[in-house]
Assembly symmetry: C2
Homo-oligomer: 291 residues x 2
């Protein structure tokens, strides 16, 4: 079994690292704050002394960080992964970040004889805890195959999307579709409410036809019940849409609907709803209608 260095023990990273320890991997962990490190050490992991030292003790380095600048700093910054990682090791970034940054990291590590895989996930904290994440991987066939035993512990399904950065592109695409499908359901249910028609009946009827979606099922029900505890936080979804928007600008893909829904998330954040579930787009629509 390859030795793992795991950096980033947040809401997602902590249960993922714990699953790797439980699966019998020798795991060295690092995190900016130490409480999560102590928990993992109690479960059988080793504490690493910063990113470079953590990488030096590992065959595969996994990162799970909040955003693109965090990954750049932890990998390419002073005392970063790139300084410690040994030639022939594998780097796997499971954060959701910009495809451009992901490719930059890939190139920088390749110069040190290290292959990189971008492998963002979907499914959220419950799926991280249960090892049921959906993993979208970008990288060479060989690199993704080498990471596969680790993915098998963390997730239920891995799709190899394409070359380095492709996993991040798929994740960005996923996040924009989810946001737009939520907005669609919000408009449909608002139209029903304002017309004096039971939105629950409308949702039910729509689930039987071409309007059916996972979002209509799950987030549609949240809207009906005003159940806006996260779930997936609006602030995080806004960050993911910024990644999609930046990728669209970088690559010449105009995304007008993504821009519109991003503005609605900005409005929710401005109104103090950044920590609510993204289905609260439905609540914003009710406010727009003066309810």
């Amino acid at each position: 079994m390859e030795r793992i260095g795991f950096i980033g023990l947040g809401i997602m990273g902590k249960p993922m690292a714990a699953n790797l320890v439980a699966a019998g991997y020798e795991v060295t962990v690092h995190n900016r704050s130490s409480a999560a490190v102590d928990e993992l050490v109690a479960a059988g992991a080793t504490a690493g002394e910063g990113p470079a030292a953590t990488a030096a003790q590992a065959d595969v380095v996994v990162t799970m960080l909040p955003d693109s600048p965090d990954v750049e700093a932890v990998v390419l910054g002073e005392g970063g992964v790139a300084e410690g990682i040994r030639e022939g090791s594998l780097f796997v970034d499971m954060s959701t970040i910009s495809p451009a940054v992901s490719r930059r990291v890939h190139t920088a590590l390749a110069e040190r004889g290290v292959e990189a895989v971008d492998a963002p996930v979907s499914g959220g904290e419950p799926a991280a805890r249960d090892g049921q994440l959906a993993i979208m991987a970008g990288g060479s066939e060989e690199a993704v195959a080498r990471a596969q035993p680790i993915f098998d512990v963390l997730g239920k399904a891995t799709t190899h999307i394409g070359p380095p950065g492709a996993g991040q592109v798929a994740k960005a695409a996923n996040q924009l579709v989810v946001a737009l499908n939520i907005q669609a359901v919000a408009e449909a249910l608002l139209l029903a409410r304002c017309a004096g028609v039971d939105p629950a009946r409308v949702r039910e009827a729509l689930l039987g036809g071409f309007a059916a979606s996972r979002v209509l099922e799950v987030h549609g029900e949240r809207m009906l019940e005003h159940a806006f505890d996260p779930g997936f936080r609006i602030a995080l979804h806004r960050k993911d849409l910024a990644i999609a928007q930046q990728a669209g600008r970088d690559d010449g893909a105009p995304l007008p609907a993504t821009s519109l829904v991003a503005s609605l998330l900005d409005a929710l954040i401005a109104q103090g709803d950044g920590d609510r579930d993204h289905s609260a787009i439905g609540a914003l629509y009710e406010r727009l209608a003066g309810e």
Copy 2:
């Protein structure tokens, strides 16, 4: 079995009327042009002499017409259904029209002792032919129950949404969700293409998670294959979005995303694509990206 008057033998109405004849109903048919009438008569129907006369010979009058003004003219205009229909009869409009017009027709017929049901459908011509339509009904419990045996011939499922007009509201909601979900898929697949990532892989990965929808499945595949023969024509979908937009204005429901996608359909129509399938929104995005 109640005697049926069926008015409007277009792409949808002709196979629907034929299914009623095949189910053993005595059906009098009327259509503006006579070719479809001749076909139905050959199948066992009787030709009616205009809307009023057709209604006079029936216990249940069914209309399947293109748009709100057509229904208003055929029902409330000179020589219309309202002039011929007998007290105690049932009127069932299966066209997709404005909820406001639907309520107006309901009120006008109620004054003549006739109950009205609005029962727009989804599923398109194949479902009309196979008696597999999804039916969204608005009207009183009694009226919808009286229409149910007819709905059972024409469709696979009827949802009673609410009072008169509620079926049209549900249909408008359905049509806006479908349009927005198509737009979401178009942006996601464009982002992938422009980033040099195989959009087919992205679609596949997204089908496994929260981005999953019938539209991603069906229209996503059409976009990948550039298979833009209808299906459901852009011009018709634009008409349905106009109904949703008007209902939004009437009832105070702001629908910014619906407005945006409606503008994209306007662009497609301006570019000569009104008769292509609505999944051609994907083609418009490719043009926006200069492909």
